[in-house]
Amino acid sequence: MTSIRRWLLAALLTALAIAGFTAAAATYFSARDEVDALLDEELRQVALSLRDHAVLDLRRLESVGANPDQRVLVQIWDPAFDRPYVSRVVGEGPMARTPDGYATIIHDHRPWRVFSLYAGRQLVQVAQPTALRTQLAATTAAQLVLPVLVVLPFLGLAGWWIVGRGLAPLGRLAGAVKERSPTALTPVPTAGLPVEVRPVANALNDLLARLDQSFALQRRFAADAAHELRTPLTALQLQVQLAERAQTDEERARAFERLQQGIRRATRLVQQLLTMARLDPDAAAAASAAVDVGALVASIVEDAQPLAAERGIALACRDEAQQASVSGAEDALRILFSNLVDNAVRYTPAGGRVQATVARDGDSLIVHVDDTGPGIQAEERERVFDRFYRGSDAPGTGTGLGLAIVSQVADMHRGRVTLDASALGGLRATVRLPTNASAH
C-alpha cells in the first residue's frame, strides 16, 4: 500500500540531499578556481622573489632534506652545474625543466603545478603538488555539505511528524465516514477541514445524500407495497372463510370462484410491483435500442383484440408517423403502451370505441389512446399517476399501479404522459417521446 506520508518524506529528504550535494559540487568547482588562482600567484611570487636576489650563488645554497611541511618546492638550474639546486628532495632525480610561465607536469607519479622563470642564465622553478588544491577545495565544499548531512535525520523526524499532522484531517474524515451506517446516512462534518480535503468531503456528502434519498424511496416503496397488499390479502382471507362456511355445493362453488378472482388480483398486484421495481433507469440505458413505435403499438393493439371483442369494444390502430422509432427499452415501452390500451379497453363500456394513433410532431413522436369511456375528472388527471392512487370513480379491482408505471417508463425515455378529454367523448392519453434522445 502506498503511503502519502512515507512518499512525501522520502521525496523531500531526497530533494534536500540532492540540493545539498549540488551546492557542495558547485562550491567545490568554484573554490577550485579560486584556489588555483591564489596558489598560482603564490608560486609566481616565490619565483619572483628568488629572481630579485639577482643571480643566486648555487654554491652557497644547500639542498635541504625532505620537509613535507613546505608548501612549495624550489628547483634552480645553473648551466655551471650538472645538477640543479632543490629546496627539498622529492622522488628520484630532479624535476624536468619546464618553459617560461605555468605548467602542469607529472613528477614522482604525481601531478605538479610549476611556475618557471629565467634569472639571467639560471632557470628558477617553483612547484607544488596539485593535490593540495583539490584538498583545499574539497574541504571548503565539505564544510558546506556536512551540516546538511547532520541535519538530515532530524529533518526526517520532524518531517514525519509534520506530514502526519498535515494528513490528520484525512484520518478524521475516514473516521467520520466509518461511523455512518446504511440507515443513518447523515453528512460528514466539513467544518475545520482544509481546502484540499473539503472537495472529498463534499463529494462524499453529495453521494451520501443521494444514497439516503434512494434508500428512502426504496423504503417508501416497500412500505407502500406492503400496505397495498393488505387489501387483496384481506379479500382472500374473507373469501377463504366464506368458502369454509359454505353450507351447500352452490355456495361453495360461488365462494371458490370469488377466491380465484381474489388470487388473480393479488397475483396481478405482485406482478405490477415487480414490474415497477425492475424499471430502473440504468436497465433502460443498457437496453437502449431503436424501437419502431408504430409497429410496437400495432402489435399491442392486436394482442388486446380478444379482450376488446369480449367486452364488445371496437379497437383500432392508426400509424401516421410511418416507421418512426425512438431509442429506448422495448420491453418497458411495451408495458407503457399496453397499460394505456388495456385501461382504455377496461374502462370503456360495451359498444364503445378505443383508438390508438401514432403521429410525428417535429422532434417528438406522439401516441394518443382515445376512448369513449367515462373519462377522468380534470382535477384527478394528475393524481392518477401517483402510485396506488385509484380514481374515485374507478370501478373494479385495479392495483393503482398501471398509470404510475406508464409515467415511470415515459420519464425513463425523457417523455411525458398527459390525460385530456378525448374528441371521442372519453379519455385521451397522450405519450410524447423525443425521437433523437436516447434513454437515460
Binding site: 400496505h227 393488505r230 387489501t231 390479502l233 379479500a235 382472500l236 374473507l238 366464506l242 380514481g391 373494479g396
Partner: protein, 219 residues
C-alpha cells in the same frame, strides 16, 4: 340488526356482506365517504363498519361528521392503516373499535356482537328474556330449555325483539332491521316470519301490542 358497511374494495365488500348476512344481519353497503355520510344520517343503523381509505371523503372525516351530528351509533373502523398513531387517531375521533386489515371474519363477527351488546346496555354475552335464551355468538336459541332451530331471518327477528326488555317494534321497524336496501321484501314478509317463529316457540312467544307492533312475552 341493520348494519352499514362502508368499503370501497368490491371483493372485501362482497365477502363481508355475505358473511354478515349469513349471521342474520341486514347489511347496507356503500363504497365512498359521501354516500356513507348520507346513509348514516338517513337510517338508524345498529352499527357502522367503516373503512378509512375511501374515495371522495376519507373515513376519518366521515367518522368526525357522524360524531359532530351527535349520532351515537357504534362505529367499528376496519382499515389497512395499522400504526399506533392511526389507531389512536381513529379511536379518539370517535370509533368504538379498530380492526386492522387483513382481519378474520370470525373476529369481525365477535367484535360486531360485542359492540351490539354494549350498545344495548348489556355486559353478559347471553340474552335472557323469560323462557327465551339467545346466544348471539353461536346463534343458538332455547325456549324453556329446549333448543329451537331457526332460519337466519327468524333468528334476526327474535334478536331484534330481544334487544331490550319490553321493547315494542312496529312492522316497519322490524322490516328495517331485517332487510337491507337491495333485498326485495314481500308485503307480508314480517308477518310470515312471526308466524313461523310462533309455530316453533308457541303462540304466546310473541305478543301483538295493538296499534304499536310486536313484543316478546315476558312471563
Amino acid at each position: 340488526m341493520r348494519i352499514l358497511l362502508v368499503e370501497d374494495d368490491p371483493m372485501i365488500g362482497e365477502s363481508v356482506v355475505d358473511g354478515l348476512k349469513a349471521e342474520g344481519y341486514a347489511v347496507d353497503w356503500v363504497r365512498d365517504g359521501q354516500q356513507a355520510e348520507s346513509a348514516v344520517t338517513a337510517t338508524p343503523y345498529a352499527l357502522v363498519l367503516l373503512d378509512l381509505g375511501l374515495p371522495r371523503r376519507d373515513g376519518i372525516e366521515v367518522l368526525r361528521t357522524i360524531r359532530e351530528r351527535r349520532l351515537d351509533v357504534p362505529v367499528l373502523v376496519m382499515t389497512a392503516r395499522d400504526t399506533v398513531r392511526d389507531r389512536i387517531k381513529g379511536l379518539d375521533t370517535g370509533a368504538d373499535d379498530y380492526l386492522v386489515k387483513p382481519f378474520n371474519l370470525d373476529e369481525l363477527s365477535a367484535r360486531v356482537r360485542a359492540l351490539l351488546r354494549r350498545a344495548a346496555g348489556r355486559a353478559e354475552p347471553v340474552i335472557e328474556r323469560g323462557q327465551l335464551v339467545i346466544n348471539p355468538a353461536t346463534r343458538e336459541v332455547t325456549w324453556g330449555g329446549a333448543p329451537v332451530a331457526l332460519s337466519a331471518r327468524e333468528y334476526a327477528l327474535l334478536a331484534a325483539l330481544a334487544e331490550r326488555p319490553g321493547l315494542v317494534l312496529s312492522r316497519a321497524q322490524l322490516e328495517e332491521r331485517l332487510y337491507g336496501w337491495n333485498e326485495a321484501v314481500g308485503s307480508n314478509a314480517v308477518e310470515v316470519h312471526i308466524h313461523n317463529v310462533r309455530k316453533k316457540l308457541g303462540d304466546g312467544a310473541i305478543r301483538n301490542v295493538r296499534g304499536l307492533g310486536y313484543t316478546l312475552a315476558t312471563e
